[in-house]
Amino acid sequence: MTSREKVFQAESKAKAADLKHRAIINRVLKQSDDAFRKGKEQFSDLEKARRHAANVKSDTIARLDYYLLEFESNFTKAGGKVIWAENAQQALDAIGEICAGKCASVVVKSKSMVTEEIHLNSFLSERGIDVVETDLGEYIQQLAGEPPYHIVAPSMHKSKEEVARLFHEKLNAPPGLTPEELTLVAREKLRQKFREAEVGITGANFLLADIGGVAITENEGNARLTTSFPRVHIVVTGIEKMLPSVKDLGLFWPLLATHGSGQKIAVYNSVFTGPRKQGEVDGPEEMYVILLDNGRTGILADPVARESLHCIRCGACLNVCPVYKNIGGHTYRATYSGPIGSVITPYLRGMKENKHLSYASSLCGACTEVCPVGINLHGLLLYNRRSAISGHHGSVFEKAAWKGWKMVSSDRRLLDAVGGKTKNFVINRLFSAQWGDHRKLPVFAGKSFSRQWKEKMNQDNAGK
C-alpha cells in the first residue's frame, strides 16, 4: 500500500464517521438534487441532449489538433495571444512573466480548477503578489487556507456559523453575520480589489474554435468584473475544453447549468474573443490564453480513457456519488475529487501513486447515469483498476493472492480439500481488516455445495 493510499484509507474512515460533516453534506446535496430535478424539466428529452453533447465532444476530441489550431488562428487575429504549456511549471512561468512585465501587485481571480491544478496562488504569493479569489466560495476557502471542497461549490462543507466566524477572525467583520450580510462584506472587500488589480485571471468553461472565443459561466458576476477592470486578462485552460463552434453553446450552457446547479441557465454566460477592440469603451488591453497539457495528452493516448476528456466540470457525478457523500471532497487529496477526479487523477499525477482512487467507488453507476456528456465513469474506474494491475502497479502480495485464488477456485479437488472451518479461518485472517468492523464476512458452510449435492444424490440413489 502506498503512503497516499494509507492516508486516504485513514481519512476516509474518520470522515465517514463524522456526523456533523455528514449532516451538512446530506443537507446541501439534497438541495442540489432537488434543484437538479427541477432544472432538467427544461429538456424534452434529456437523454437525446446528452447523446448529442457526447457526440460533439467525442468528435472534437478526435480532431483536437485541428480545433486548437483553428482557435489559435482566430484568437490571434482578434489581437489575443496564445501560450502553450506542456506542464504546470511552463504555465506558471508564463503567468509570472506577464505579471512581472506589468509590475502587478494585485491579481484578481475568478473560479478556476485548472489554476488549482497548477497551484497558481502559492506561486504568485511567493512572488509578493496579492492574489485574490473573487468567487464567494473560493474567497471563503482562501480565507480558511483550504483547497476547494467541490469543483463547483468550493465551500459547500462549511456551515454559515463557520463562515461568519471566519469573516470575523480574518476580515474583522462583526460576529454572527447572516449569509446575506456575509455576502455584502465580501462584495465590498472585493470591489476594491477589482479596481486595484493589474491582472485578472480566469479559467474557461469552453473554448470556441470557430470564433477564437473563451466562454465563462458564473452566477455572481465576479468573472465579468475580473475581465472588465484589470489591464490584462489571462485565461488558463486545459486543451480539452474545446467546442467546434459558438453555436454549440445553445446546448452546452443549459446542460452545464442544469447539471452544475440545477438552473435552466446560469446568471452570466460570457464569451470573450480578445482584448478591448477599437471603439469599445473599456476592457483589458491584453488578453492571453494559456493552453495547458499537463498530462491530458496522456489521457488522449489511451483510446478507452480518452472519453474522460469530454468532461465539462459540472460536478454532477460528485453530487450523486455515495463514496463522495461519505468521505467528502478533501479526502481525495486531489484537485479533482469525486468520480471524475478518481478517473483522471491517476493520469495527471501518476497511476502508481493514485491507483487507490479507482477503488473509491461502489461501481453503482450513478455517476455514469448522471453525466451530461456520456462519460462511462464507473466503467473507466474499473478499466483503471485493470490498467494499474497490468502496468505492474499492484503489490506482490495482491498478485500472489489472486494467483492462489485462481488456482484453488478453478480446481474442484483443491477447493474441497479443506472444510468450512479452515476456509473461514483463512478468509478471516486475510480479509477481516479490509472488510472492516461494521459488516460481517460471508461464512463458508461446513461442506461445499458441490460436496453436499453429491452426498444428497448418493443418498437418493441409495434409497431407490
Binding site: R224, S228, I265, A266, Y268, N269, K277, G279, T297
Partner: protein, 228 residues
Amino acid sequence: MDNSSTRKNILKKIREALTAPSVRLLPESSDGLFYRKDDRSLLDRFCTEFAAIDGKLEVCREKDDFHKKLSEIRNENGWQHLYCSTASFRTDFGLDALPFTGGEVPESASAVITGCECLVARTGTIVLSSAQEYGRALTVYTPVHIVVASADQLVEDIGDGISKIVRRYGRKLPSALFFASGPSRTGDIEKTLVKGVHGPVQVYLFLFAANGDYVTDQPGYQSKIIEL
C-alpha cells in the same frame, strides 16, 4: 517568450495519441430539438421566465409610460442618480429631460440605464455586448441595471441569440458578449440564495410592446402593463 517548441511538442503528442482511433464512438445524428415545447408567444414566455429568475419587468406602450414608471420606481427605491451612457437613448427617450439622469461619473450611480442586443424568451436572458456604449463593466458594477428594449428584439432561444449576434457583427465580433439572466446571485453559503453578490442586486426591464403584442392569459402580468 518563444513558445514554438512547446506548441510543436503538444501538437505532436496529440497527433500521435490520435493515431489510435477512439473505442466508443456514439452514432446517430440529432435534429437539435432538446427543449420542452411551449406554444405561448415569445413575449409571454419571456415574461414568465424573467419573473422566475427575479427580473422585474414593466411593459410599456409609449415613452410617457416609461418616464412615469421610471420616476415612480426611482422614488420607491430612493435612487439618487441614474446613469445612461448611450447618447441616442438619452435623446430618443428624452432622458435628459428627467432631473435625475445624466452622464456624470458612473461610480456614484445608483442605477444604470442601457439597451441590449436581444432578449431570449426561453430563458429570460438579456444579451449584452462590449461593442455597445455601456461596454463591459457598467452593467455588472452598478447596483441596479435597467434595460430598455422593444418586443421585436425577442428571440426564441440562446442559439438564436448567438446567431443574431453573429449575423450582425460577422467576423468582427465584439470582444465580449454577455448573456445575463436576472440579478447576480450566489448559493455558496449553505446553498442560501443571496442576490447581488458582485453584479446588480436588481435587474429591471422596460419592454416596449405595440398594442396586441402583449397577449397573456396569466393574470399576474396584466397588472404590470402601464395604463395609458
